[in-house]
Amino acid sequence: MTPGPLLSVEGLSVAFNTEQGRVRVVEDLSFQLAAGETLGLVGESGCGKSVTAQTIMRLLPSPPSHIEAGRIMFEGEDLAAAPASRMRKIRGDRIGMVFQEPMTSLNPTQRIGQQVAEVLRLHRGMNSSEAKGLAISVLKKAGIGNAERRFDQYPHELSGGLRQRVMIAMAIVCGPRLLIADEPTTALDVTIQAQIIELLKAVQKDLGLSILLITHDLGVVAEMCRNVVIMYAGRVVERGPTNETFQFPRHPYTAGLINSSPRNARKGERLPTIPGLVPPPGMRSRGCSFADRCPRVLEKCRSEFPPLAPLPGRLVACWNPAP
């Protein structure tokens, strides 16, 4: 028997109560993440990728957020239906999290070592000297030199790169199965970003972790993820192996994203662009949300939403995919 995926999101829809009524920001989202795999969840601002991550962790307060449909299967358990007390046990233990801004996710009034050790006291019931010893060894594993001295420092005494290492140490200290990393390198300079990417790869290999990497940076995805999910306006528009998807995108939005990067353009020439703007949630049409910006639009696209359908080696939600 082959083991099922570690994480399987099935038909997930998430809505928020707003002044304009209830608005869906994630619609019918499905993807699987195998054990030991890194999956990239990609899209621009407002596409629903962070809401997806926070929903998997059940971090969004309800109300105003609601899981309207779908399941989040993790290790045989539906997190979408799990009570808050159960989620508190899972978060930080079975699932670790790393966010974009380590300065706002760390407690500024507490020494960093204590913050790592607290996770162990909470989930493992360790006493403080046991927790301290293990915390120091995990800080070292996260590439923090002089961890014994750093243990007693406060977040403001560390650089952005070191703070992100502390976040990673906190996320892995209990030996989770899944790490959810939401834009983990976006706030960092490129040379520091390169260090953090190398660290995440090493940690993954070492612990056999699965990583759900949420980012807008296609380059980071290409470096880290075997498979990629591209989101647009709350839905998955394309899903497949990263190499093939980036080389031969089938959905016009994926193609637009890749082509509009100056990396592929002739120097000084105009870049291919995606005209227009992402429609805000609540203003999305019955048809494909990308129709108004799409160079391959058909009449049908405006009236009927294209389901995510299989093409060779790919899932694409498009009535007229690129050849």
Binding site: S159, T191, A222, G268, I274
Partner: protein, 321 residues
Amino acid sequence: MTALLEVRDLSKDYPARDGKGVVRAVSNVSLALEAGQTLGVVGESGCGKSTLARLIMRLIEPRSGEILFKGQNLVSLSAPDLRRRRRDIQMVFQDPYASLDPRMNVAAIISEPLDIHGIGSRAERKAKVLELLDLVGLDRSAAAKYPHEFSGGQRQRIGIARAIALEPKLVVLDEPVSALDVSIQSQILNLLIDLKKRLGLTYIFISHDLSVVEHVSDDVAVMYLGQIVEYGKAAQVLHAPLHPYSQALVSAIPEIDTQKKKQRIVLTGDPPNPENIPPGCPFHPRCPHVMAICRQIPPELQVTQDRRAACHLYREGPGGH
């Protein structure tokens, strides 16, 4: 041909947080820019690239050095002369949310520089605003709206319209597309490329994104801890960098095309602290090629293989290591 802008030995210090030392934000920067060219300035947080922009704009006072615009030293100009000169040099900022006054409508934002410099009659200014909106690709109805009614990309268009209202010669762009999504970023880059051609502008383009800089720049200066460490033609500096810091910076960019995989140089250690600049070469604590001399003597920026690099590896001139 004389340069439109020439910066000579420009330096700027700030008092350190401890109240005793100094932060050397920009040290001995020299560069030259001909009319119609784009100079890219790259480097990481704290390298001094934004301070350099503010010095060139004369928004802050340099400690020493000269900023020659059409041969005239902006540092020693009298206040009224400087004010007249400012028409020729304008700036676009990174954050289109913070750089537009939320209480002013778009027409007022764009015409403010015209009002300040007393250009045209009221009706002429109004016509000019509409013309500028056309030029940056915004609908004329935008004139009566307020910044919060626009997306980030549209706001950046408003900021650009304001910057070109006075028909400047030089526009300093400080991370103009960094806050924008990729699909919007390419729209704004196209606008900047078009405007440069149509209006004959000269750009200083500051960014941490090397692929963006490479796309728009003729020359590139790489900064590290307030100094230029490498300076030359964009294609050479970004494709065959000489300075070990430029090499690490270029190799750190994640590639979309996994076929193009390159050998990554991962720098050890933290980004440097401008309050505590190491002796000798400022890059030596992180440099994979560090030599004894690097810890003592700061290398000078000198001509090496068609460009300038500040590194002891190249101290004997071309091919000298």
